[in-house]
C-alpha cells in the first residue's frame, strides 16, 4: 500500500543508538558508516549507500511500471547534479537489471552565456561517460531567440516564465526529433515538496493535485514526462554524486531565481534540518490530495478526463485507517480537529480559486474551458488549447519589438510599453489554467 520508497530500505535501522565503538553500517554491519540517510536516519557505509540509493530508484521504476523493454527514452540532461545522477543511475540499472531500454540524453540550450554553454560541456562528457547519444536543441534554432536576447529585451523580471514555456516545448520538439515519446527528468523529492508547498500556498488545488504524479501524460503534448527521482532526497543525490565522483556542473542560472520558489525552497531546507522526514511527508501529503480533492474542485481547472494532464500512474493512496500502520505516514494519526481545519482550508481554497477565475481571467469562461478542445497552434503547429500556443504568444510580442534591439541607446517609452506588454501577457499565461499541463516544476528541468 505504501509508496515505493517506504518499502525500499532493505533493513530497518535499529532505533536504539549504538555505542560509538561498535557503530557500524546499518546494512552490512561491517564497515564504518559515512552517510546518515535523511529518510530513515540509517547510518550506512559508502558502498551500501550507493547500492541502496540505486535500489530504491529501481523499485520506484518497477513498482510503477515506468519503462517497458525496448523503449527508447530521453533523459532531460542539464549537466546539473540531478540529471547527471539520473543518467548515471539509469545507466547502472539498465545494465544491472537488463531493462532493455535505449537512453538518449536530451539537452536544451537556452542560450545563456557563461551558464548553459559551460553546463553543456558537462553533458557532452556525460554522454561519453554513460555511452548515451546526445541531442541538443536550442532556443535560437527553435524560436530565433536566445535567453540572453530575451532578457536584454524584457529584463530579468518574468524571464523564468518565458524560459519555462520555451523549455517545455523544446523538450517536446527534441523528443519528437528523436522519435521518443517519453522524457525522464531529474526532479527530486525536494523539488516535489517545494512544488506541493507552492501550490498549497497559492491555493492552486488543481495543480497541487497533479504535481506529484510520477508520470504525467497530457493530450496537449505528445510526450510523457516522468520523474524517477521523485522520492530521492536532494541531499542524497548530492552525496551519491560526490561518492561516485560524478562529473556535474553547479552554477546557478544567471537569471534566476523566482523569488517565491526560492522562499519555498528555503522553507523546505529549514524543515529538513529540524525533521528530515519532512520532505517526504510533504510529497506524500501532495499525493494524498489526489485522493482527497473532490472532482468539483479539481474541475475548476480544465478537467475533462480526456483533455487534462492525467496522472497515468499513481501510487495508490493509503486508506485513512491504514495510515497509522505506515511508519512513514507521519501525518496519518492527526486528530479530527486538524482534519476539520484542513477541510475548511479546502473550502476556502475552492472559493479563492473561483474568485481568481472570475476576477483575473474574465476572458476565459468556465464553460468554455470545460469544453476545451485541442488544436494545433496556427503559427507553429504545436498542440495548444488556444489558437496560438504559449510560446507563439510570447514570440509575437518579442518579435514585434525586435527591431529596436541593439540600436537602442536608452529605454524610451515605447520600449517600456513593449516590456510591459510582454510581462502582462506572461502574467496572463501564468494565470491561465489551461490544459497544457504545467506542474510548476519545469523551472529546473
Amino acid at each position: 500500500m505504501s509508496p515505493p520508497t517506504s518499502t525500499a530500505a532493505p533493513s530497518s535501522a535499529p532505533t536504539t543508538p549504538q555505542p560509538t565503538s561498535t557503530r557500524l553500517c546499518a546494512h552490512c554491519k561491517l564497515s564504518r558508516p559515512k552517510i546518515q540517510r535523511a529518510k530513515t536516519r540509517d547510518r550506512l557505509c559508502v558502498p551500501c549507500f550507493l547500492h541502496i540509493f540505486e535500489l530504491e530508484i529501481h523499485q520506484t521504476i518497477t513498482s510503477t511500471n515506468l519503462f517497458q523493454r525496448g523503449d527508447h527514452i530521453a533523459i532531460g540532461a542539464s549537466g546539473g547534479k540531478d540529471s547527471t545522477v539520473l543518467a548515471a543511475v539509469l545507466k547502472t540499472l539498465n545494465d544491472r537489471y537488463d531493462y532493455g531500454i535505449k537512453f538518449t540524453l536530451l539537452s536544451i540550450d537556452e542560450g545563456i552565456k557563461g551558464y548553459r554553454d559551460d553546463s553543456l560541456e558537462t553533458v557532452k562528457r556525460n554522454a561519453v561517460q554513460y555511452e548515451m547519444p546526445l541531442v541538443i536543441v536550442s532556443y535560437r534554432e527553435l524560436y530565433g531567440w536566445t535567453m540572453d536576447e530575451v532578457v536584454q529585451q524584457i529584463g530579468k523580471k518574468g524571464n523564468c516564465t518565458v524560459c519555462g514555456v520555451f523549455r517545455r516545448q523544446a523538450l517536446d520538439r527534441g523528443a519528437e526529433r528523436l522519435g521518443v515519446s517519453h522524457v525522464v527528468t531529474g526532479h527530486n523529492a525536494d523539488d516535489m515538496a517545494e512544488t506541493v508547498l507552492m501550490n498549497l500556498l497559492r491555493g492552486d488545488l488543481p495543480r497541487l493535485h497533479r504535481c506529484t504524479a510520477i508520470l504525467t501524460a497530457s493530450s496537449s503534448s505528445p510526450v510523457r514526462r516522468s520523474k524517477p527521482l521523485k522520492y530521492a532526497y536532494e541531499k542524497e543525490i548530492v552525496l551519491y554524486a560526490h561518492h561516485r565522483k560524478l562529473d556535474y556542473f553547479s552554477t546557478e542560472c544567471l537569471y534566476s531565481p523566482e523569488a517565491f520558489r526560492g522562499s519555498a525552497r528555503a522553507l523546505i531546507k529549514s524543515l529538513e534540518r529540524v525533521r528530515p522526514s519532512a520532505i517526504l511527508d510533504v510529497v506524500r501529503s501532495g499525493e494524498s490530495f489526489v485522493a482527497m480533492v473532490p472532482p468539483e474542485i479539481s474541475g475548476v481547472a480544465p478537467s475533462q478526463p480526456n483533455t487534462t494532464a492525467t496522472p497515468v500512474v499513481l501510487p495508490p493512496p493509503p486508506p485513512p485507517q491504514q495510515a497509522d500502520d505506515d511508519p512513514n505516514a507521519h501525518c496519518g494519526g492527526e486528530s479530527g480537529g486538524e482534519m476539520a481545519a484542513f477541510e475548511k482550508q479546502l473550502r476556502e481554497n475552492e472559493e479563492a480559486t473561483h474568485r481568481e477565475t472570475e476576477v483575473k481571467l474574465p476572458q476565459i469562461r468556465k464553460k468554455q474551458k470545460m469544453k476545451q478542445t485541442l488544436m494545433n497552434c496556427r503559427k507553429c503547429g504545436y498542440m495548444s488549447s488556444q489558437e496560438l500556443c504559449k510560446a507563439c504568444v510570447i514570440l509575437e510580442d518579442l518579435n514585434k519589438h525586435r527591431a529596436k534591439l541593439g540600436v537602442q541607446v536608452e529605454l524610451d517609452e515605447v520600449e517600456e510599453e513593449a516590456k510591459e506588454g510582454v510581462r502582462r501577457k506572461m502574467e496572463a499565461l501564468e494565470l491561465r489554467k489551461s490544459v497544457e499541463t504545467d506542474t510548476g516544476t519545469d523551472a529546473k528541468e
Binding site: Q36, K235, H243, F249, S250, R265, K444, E445
Partner: protein, 126 residues
Amino acid sequence: MATPLVASSTSTIPSSTATTGQIKVEFSGGLELLFANQRSVTLPLPLPTTTSTSTLATPPTVGDLVTYLVNTAMVDPRKELFVVDGAVRPGILVLINEADWELEGEEEYQLCDGDTVLFVSTLHGG
C-alpha cells in the same frame, strides 16, 4: 591566508593540548563561488583567528572553523549564503573526512591535523 597570529601564544598556555598542524577545507556544489573560486584551501591549526574567543587549550571545532570562514576567509559579502542565524545554511552539506558531519558531532567536532572538511551546496542548479 593570514598567518596564525595567535600561534605564538599557544606555547604560553601551560595545558595546551591544542592540536597543531593543518587541515584542508574544500568547497563544491557552487560554494566555491563564495570563496573566490577556490575549491580547496589549507588552514593551519590552531585556526588563524584574530579574535580568539575560544580557549587555546581546546582544539578548534568545526563550529570555530565556520566562524573563521565566514568572518575572515569569505570574500563574498553575501554571508547569508553560507551561514544563517549563526549556523551553516540549511541545504549545505558538511562532510568531515568524507563522512556526514551528523555522524561526527556536527559543530562540536574537534579538528585534528590532517582533517578534511568539505562544504557542498545542494542548492545550485538541477
